[in-house]
């Protein structure tokens, strides 16, 4: 199931996860049952999960059958009653989900889509969505991913390479902060603007919150 959380799993993946958990306890609970009676079914289910996800990647139709399709609950600001009835999704649930997604006023919603994972995706009306720099015609510089260069005293050489930097540069920067070795550093993170965040190990904040 990869790196998804329980709430993001497809229905069949959730079923498989529960079945695997159940199968794992069978030989553990009863000493008389050979361990292989649990291991083989678990491996089989894992293989099955990979096969099903592989097939659903290749086939739209099968994906629809296995994972279902997203359902539009609000379209152009109007609640689709038939869809709610078909999904047995009542208005209370809908309003609750909208509030949880920070849309307490249903009038602000253009589209609400119930995804196959059970999450509700909201597309607000254009006047109600958060402002973006594009709306203000403001140019913004590129903002990439800030990567950690040192974590718990260990240098992340791959991340240094991604920034086309080396340990010489890193040591030079650390020296500016009075740090003589990377092992003294809890976390050092560099963003695409070139700002280096460094925290030494054992740093404690004082009462007024400064370092």
């Amino acid at each position: 199931m990869g790196k998804r959380q329980i709430g993001e799993l497809q229905p069949f993946e959730l079923v498989l996860a529960i079945m695997i958990a159940e199968l794992a306890t069978v030989p553990m609970e009863d000493k008389e049952i050979p361990l292989i009676n649990g291991i083989i079914p678990i491996i089989t289910l894992l293989l099955l999960q990979v096969v099903i996800t592989f097939i659903s990647l290749r086939s739209d139709r099968l994906r629809g059958v296995i994972s279902g399709t997203p359902s539009i609950l609000i379209e152009n600001g109007k609640i689709i009653e038939d869809e709610l009835r078909k999904l047995r999704y009542n208005l209370t649930d809908l309003l609750e989900q909208l509030r949880l997604k920070d849309f307490p006023n249903i009038a602000d919603v253009e589209y609400a889509i119930l995804e196959t994972s059970g999450e509700l995706s909201i597309i607000p009306k254009s006047q109600k969505r958060p402002l973006t720099p594009e709306d203000l015609k403001v140019d913004t510089p590129y903002e990439g991913l800030a990567l950690p260069l040192i974590m718990d005293g260990h240098i992340k050489h791959n991340n240094l390479k991604k920034f086309n930097l080396d340990t010489k540069w890193l040591n030079y920067e650390l020296n500016k902060f009075g740090i003589h070795s990377s092992t003294e550093v809890l976390l050092a993170s560099l963003d695409t603007k070139g700002d280096l965040y460094i925290q030494k190990k054992g740093t404690k904040s004082n009462k007024d919150g400064t370092l």
Binding site: K31, E32, I33, P34, I40, L47, V50, F54
Partner: protein, 126 residues
């Protein structure tokens, strides 16, 4: 493609191991069953000494087979066979015709029953 190939290989390996273990259990069960049938004949002929020797051999064979069957077969069923074997040995030692025959029959049935239960059949799946 690599994933499909890996899945196919894994599936073939699984099926292969499953089939092999089923055939192997069936064959060893047949071997024990043949020996037990010989034992039955000896008891019918009241050849107690030869029967006693044969059942000792069966027990030795069973000890080595048991270690391998333990991995696949339910231990409770293996324990039942151990019990039947122990009782059979004692009944043969005591030259008790009826009880020895009955216990041998149970022993034979249990060994073949395990092989039947582990076989790949619709009945076993459902």
């Amino acid at each position: 493609m690599r994933l499909v190939f890996t899945m196919a290989v894994a599936l073939i390996v699984f099926l292969g191991i499953g089939l092999y273990s089923e055939i192997w259990i069936s064959n060893t069960a047949q071997e024990i069953s043949i020996e037990v049938s010989k034992l039955e004949e000896m008891i019918n002929n009241r050849d107690w000494d030869e029967a006693s020797q044969l059942i000792d051999n069966i027990q030795k064979d069973w000890s080595s087979i048991e270690e391998s069957w333990d991995i696949i077969v339910d231990h409770r069923e293996m324990d039942e066979i151990d019990l039947a074997l122990t009782r059979s040995i004692k009944f043969i030692e005591a030259e008790s015709f009826d009880l020895a025959l009955a216990e041998i029959a149970v022993l034979k049935h249990m060994v073949l029953h395990i092989a039947k239960k582990e076989s790949l059949k619709i009945l076993n799946i459902f």
